[in-house]
């Protein structure tokens, strides 16, 4: 994965050459994905206003690595919770109500909360990292504001020479609109 300066990536993306197709319907979009796959295209971007299983299934992508973030965050949170409570109790041991200095049952609460806290925060980091900053060609591909409303879109990066071929493929799949970038 190539890291891109997020600020540059968000505000001043150098455009990627390719073809952007706007679809009005889900089934046409899925169909277009199938056709692109059949034509040997693997590296294209699909826009949708909502996540749809149909698109996911058609794309057949690997499972998101975000879950690893969650796991590692949760485990380290739990460990930090355990360290915090036990170290701080033994650093200046004071007897309270006849209870043990390092009394695990109450500390489970802290460990649990820390597990959740760190798990959640690292999940967020995972999403931000993967979806926004580490995503390939972030913000450099052509986009249409209607994609967050009611349109679907597919952007196929291609050299101008091969653009015509892609264009006709997409049009054949039922694209309402086609633009070159």
């Amino acid at each position: 994965m190539k890291l891109v300066n997020p600020l540059t990536a968000i505000f001043h993306p150098p455009p990627t050459p390719g073809v952007l197709a706007v679809f009005g319907h889900l089934d046409t979009t899925v169909d277009a994905i199938g056709r692109l796959h059949a034509a040997g295209h693997t590296d294209f971007t699909v826009y949708s206003p909502i996540p749809r299983h149909e698109i996911e299934d058609a794309l057949d992508q690997p499972v998101s690595p975000v879950r690893m973030f969650t796991l590692i965050g949760g485990i380290s949170g739990c460990a930090i919770g355990a360290w915090l409570t036990l170290y701080m109790s033994y650093d200046w041991p004071l007897v309270l109500g006849g209870k043990p200095i390092g009394s695990v049952p109450p500390y489970v609460v802290i460990m649990f909360e820390m597990t959740i806290l760190f798990g959640a925060l690292s999940t967020i980091l995972g999403i931000l990292f993967n979806a926004l900053f580490a995503a390939r060609r972030l913000g450099t591909v052509a986009y249409d504001p209607r994609f967050t409303n009611d349109k679907f879109g597919i952007f196929v990066p291609s050299q101008p020479a091969r653009a015509g071929q892609v264009e006709s493929l997409l049009r054949g799949a039922g694209a309402e609109e086609i633009r070159r970038a």
Binding site: W92, P93, L94, L96, G97, G98, P100, I101
Partner: protein, 993 residues
Amino acid sequence: MDRRRFLTVLGATGGAAAAASACSAEPTEHLVPYTVPPENQVPGIATYYATTCRECAAGCGLHAKVREGRVIKLEGNPESPINQGRLCSRGQAALQGLYNPDRVTEPMARGPNGQWQTLSWDDAIARLQAKVKEARGKGIAFLTGLETGSFGALVDGWMREVGGRHVTYEPFAFEALREGNRLAFGTAAIPWYDFANARYIVSFGADFMETWLSPVAYQNGFTRAHAFESGRDGSMAKYVYIGPRLSLTAMSADEWIAAKPGTEGLLALAMASVITNERLAPALPPVDAARMRELLASYSATKVADAVGIDAPVIRRLAREFARSNGGLAVAGGIAAQYPNGAAIVAAVNVLNYVAGQVGKTVKFGPDQALDAGSFKQLTALVADMSAGKVTLLLVHGANPGHSLPAAFSSGLAHVGYKVSFSSYLDETAAASDLVLPDLHPLEQWNDSQPRAGVYALQQPVMQPVFPNTRHTGDVILQVSGKAGAFKDYLQTRWRTLHQRYGRGQAFDDFWNTGLQHGGVYTEAPTRGVRLDPGVARLTTQTPAASQDVSLIVFPSIGLHDGRGANKPWLQELPDPVSKITWHAWVEVHPETAGKWQLANGDVVLLKSPHGAVRAPVWITPGVRPDVLAVPTGQGHRAYGRYAKDRSFNAFELLSDQPTEFGGRAFAVGVTVTKTGDHRRLATLEGDAREQGRGVIEVLPLAKARELKRSAHPFEEEETPGYARKALDAWAEAQHEKASLGNYAGEHPRWAMAIDLAKCTGCSACVTACYAENNLATVGEDLVTRRRQMSWLRIERYYTGGEGRAGQPVGAVVMPMLCQQCGNAPCEPVCPVYAAYHTPDGLNGQVYNRCVGTRYCANNCPYKVRYFNWYNYAEPGGEWESWPDPLNMLLNPDVTVREKGVMEKCTFCVQRIRGAQNRARLEDRNVQDGDITPACAQACPSEAIVFGDLHDTASLVAARARDPRGYHVLQGLNTKPGITYLARVVHGDVRET
């Protein structure tokens, strides 16, 4: 050796105040050294001076604890034969009289338009001299309180010189006691009652733990007789109280019998008649026997039963028990001596003692109590003379008839030419005078007193005067009368006589210094015999005529006494030991009566007697006869400083201003009661008056207590099986080992306390001691009403016996409730910042400056002994300031004054523990049993509280903790408290609580 030479004690005033809280920047602090260091004073170490308490006539010995030139606490002088090192609340609160913010700081005279103007002492003395000269032969009167020593003699002498008269006046002056003794024995002396050696005590209204004669001494003696100690002879004295009201003194009684008011004498004579008829006591000399037959013939038990309201068999039982105990002591006093027939009642009780053969045994004439204050009759005579214009110059010192005889005295005062007051405070009398020459406080002055024949108590200044422009009245009198020398010289001259008698070849200076060190010269006066007066045969104790009105009795408040305590916030905030009400007066109403009149707690009623009317809030209690109402004295001041003024009502206003036959005052009066429709919340500490069998207070009948084996533990609730407890103990031990860094693993004491409920009477001396020692804030009436009192130690009082149902015996049980220093403290683990934690020596530490005030600990404390600083009580000039200047001078420098928002509680006087440990360390020794006495244990007149190390098996506290009567409050919670209570023991059956 002159200890008084505190030259320029600059350290005590001025200097810098520290930051109010740790978050603000520290201001520059200054260190002001002495110019010349005072002798015997080491900064950081307290010096003790012996002196004598002047808060009442009892004359208890004091030890004044002085730090950096200011007295910070008063403790009993262990050498004093009167109080044996113990001290009551009033005595301890003398400090607040000394540092009272409302003291008169310099001489004042009334200006032309009635304004007070200050003047110099020279001017004031010249003025007084002129007035005395002018008034010579036209009537001069000097009214003082009871003075049994040199000051009284000086006044006597001066008055003889200028042709005036010296009248002494005490609102509670025991006239009936003197008259009753004269009737019975032909002597007006007041004997010493030997409570400690009594085996059966009957009190006819005598409140000997409150204000009667010598309360600390008698309470101490009483508990020696009445306490239960397993292993002793096992027979604790029985104690019966007869009176219309369940007073503090009555609460300790095994039986409270509410005879019809005014018939106590009949009862005494009936008992005497049973004793003589049944020959229960050694035969009297024939002459006396004949007189007794003559007298007692008409007082058989059956004859008086109806009049007294007690069944004849009960009277016979009492008489038999009294006589057979071979150590009976009957005392009459309090309200029984304040009915119009009070003297006769006293005489009748004397007869009872006499026929039982106890006069000379438990009733000791010889070591008489020097309580020969003038009678009320003398005062009324003076008032009559004043009204008649026969007094041109009235001088008042140590008396406040403007409060205790409000109407008559004020109107008399209007006819007096010139009135001079020597009061330290602007009380009602001083406020009505023309010239105020502020006296020194008794703790700042020289004087002496003779509380009992053979006891010569010295009074010495224990610090520089708080207000340098006040002057000893003795000095003033000497100056006005043109005599040389100071009062101290006068005092020493008088002591030369004593020196000749008791000096045993010492030089006078040595004799004097020894006297100062010990607080006086103590000798034993021999007991003398008394014989029945021939006139006793004609003794009549007629019952008062029945009246339409409800009968109301006025009793002296335990804290405020006749009202002189009302300007001391400790006493105002001290819950009355019976009603638990603070800061205001009340009227006690029986539940039956309240039901009849549809009254609830706090309803304000108008009480109207032929002499006056007051509005009083109702407090409903089973501890009063249904046909009797009772109100305390002490409140209702119209002057006397910020703490006393305009507070509640003055009960004296209801009383007659005419003396009774015996020259005293009647404190019972008929009243009409009207509901006003007003209501107030009582400023009380009482939640529920019934303990409801929660195991807070345990009571054992005597028979059962005697049978207890040494190893028995009747109160132990075994919640955990033995094997589990063993495992738990081992595990707890391992925990302490693990906490070695925190120093838990080493050898440590386990500080603990044992409180014997068979001794505790509920007198609340410990409460005031705690206020004094630990800088507890007094929060005032409003905040007490909202239950924000700071009393780390409270005396809980629960009623026992049939509530509301007439005829059922009613009693009360009391216990001091303070932090139990639990081994498994529920307060500790819930504190988020370790402000509450367990110290290695077994205390529940409370670190004030770590506390953030979540108050979780207080919620989790089952004993409810944690107190929160809702406001900043130490903020100078603040709305809730507890120690306005110079009251702040009594703060104990060893104890932090807590900030607002901080939880505080008892830590067994940890400052005393650490102090003792520091001293022991310097001496390279261990702390020994008895080195440490917390303030409450030290003050306790009953010696009910014992403190020490539980790990030291030889210590007294460990022995008490092993006592079979021992139990822990709320044992089932497994808190493992450090305080062991020893169950109360009663004669007869245990009543439902």
